[in-house]
Symmetry: C2
Subunit: 329 residues, 2 copies
Amino acid sequence: MRIAVDAMGGDDAPGVVVKGAVESLAILNGHDVVLVGDSARIDAAARSLGGLPARVEILHASQVVRMDDKPIEALRRKPDSSIARCVALVAGGEADALVSAGNTGAVVAHATLKLGLLEGVRRPGIAVDMPSIDGYTLVIDAGANVKCTPEHLYQYGVMASAYCKDVYGKADPRVGLLNIGQEQVKGNPLVKEAGALFEDSALNYIGFVEGRCVFSGDADVVVCEGFVGNVLLKVSEGVADVIIEMLREAFQRTLRRRIGAKLCEYALRELAARVDCSEHGGAPLLGVNGSCMIAHGGSNSRAIANAIRSAAEAAAYHVNEHIVAGLHT
Amino acid sequence: MRIAVDAMGGDDAPGVVVKGAVESLAILNGHDVVLVGDSARIDAAARSLGGLPARVEILHASQVVRMDDKPIEALRRKPDSSIARCVALVAGGEADALVSAGNTGAVVAHATLKLGLLEGVRRPGIAVDMPSIDGYTLVIDAGANVKCTPEHLYQYGVMASAYCKDVYGKADPRVGLLNIGQEQVKGNPLVKEAGALFEDSALNYIGFVEGRCVFSGDADVVVCEGFVGNVLLKVSEGVADVIIEMLREAFQRTLRRRIGAKLCEYALRELAARVDCSEHGGAPLLGVNGSCMIAHGGSNSRAIANAIRSAAEAAAYHVNEHIVAGLHT
């Protein structure tokens, strides 16, 4: 397995990406990594780590897509960007999967147009793992598609269900459709029409679910349009950060509490790790004809390493074949 | 000031509502409460509390709107519901404000049609206070309106800004428009068009904000359509619950941690109270010609008491006059 990694994507690129690529070797068995980007800068980052192992190589790309570049313009004006090169490696069969923590819209646009969509798929969707009380809930779409039709939502359910089965080994994933109430009468026309498609499907559809359900563990997959999913993701991060911050402050206010907090130190670290997105690392872009993993712009090296592992797993499990089969049943 | 309270609304009605009404007397100065609903059941609840104080009276209503009733049908078929009676008291000038923890859609429909909208207002919106790192952020709309136009969003900004000024005493509230990125190119057509209206306005508009911003304290008001706001609200509750639950579990796992947790007990209680919606209690339905406070269906008596206080405050501060003035500048 060979994974193409966008070395120029993310807030701390290429440093943390190069470090993450090296770290990934410890958690991947017999996989190779191609770091794609400005070779001089990648070299410099590699030198500061004491050089690159043999299984990590560098492919030069002369351009970088910035976070504020418009995706379609980036596609046209930056044909030699690190994102374009990564996608081209997968499209040409020279890599089995790609990972980028760069401009999400640009990754989606490049992957959609250069890899193409799987047979029958209308729109790709980003599936993000959210920590729940007893595991993880896969939320799709986290922002690939801000103008959804009911059919797009239905297909997201099929795609995420296949991913959940293959990669997480869940036998019959419970699929919920995100709404503002569980009752049939609630919601906007989009979710009401999508609900009817799910009702008629072969999926293990559990009906409308509310925002709380993402964290309660009552569903394995929660489907929503990209705008809503993106808000959900960032709101969750915001709440988690603010609670942990409030907790740290409250724990420092008296000597008694400082002693107590010291005794609970590991519990607090466990919690922070549990709600930290870097533990999972990557979100698959489902629906494209290839394996494409999108990492958080704020990824640290551990998140990059985990995203590389997830990309390899998704490719190894043949998720895409099962998505196509799922759409044709 | 006289507040009409829907005694039949909420998961534990009428018990907790009657209790909340009595408790509100301690935090309200010289206000009266009218408990509206099934008088036999209200009486029974009152007796178990040792009777009602003189400042709390009962008005019988023979019907109850259930949580799964369709709002418009409830309006037509249940003319003597507790919600209809509460709204009628305000419409007829016999009460200054109303509070309900019942079917939100039904409260919105009744208030909109029977109180009418303020001059120039297109749609009412529910404004909910979310705890941020250094105070509260007012999010509007939390679910009154699932089909927004750019003008609706703009008016929500005007209304919540007026409320923030009057009730919270913030001089020039910073208003952000919720989007999936801060860059101008991001988002769906709705937010892009609404953004242009905000840019041209007299509001202290700070531009597009992301979901995290609700909790960072960077904005006083965050505007979004009802579907998104409702998801945001319930996701936040879900995250907060799951983190506090994870924390409790982690703190019980070893003896060392149990001792530490004991020393930090008050810190944990402070945190739970800080993120607990019952501390604030009510969310104003802004835009209707009257003061209408919507409480959470899961409200406890403290939340009901706080909602009654908020309803009285909103009426006392003449927020509605300032909303109308704001829309005409």
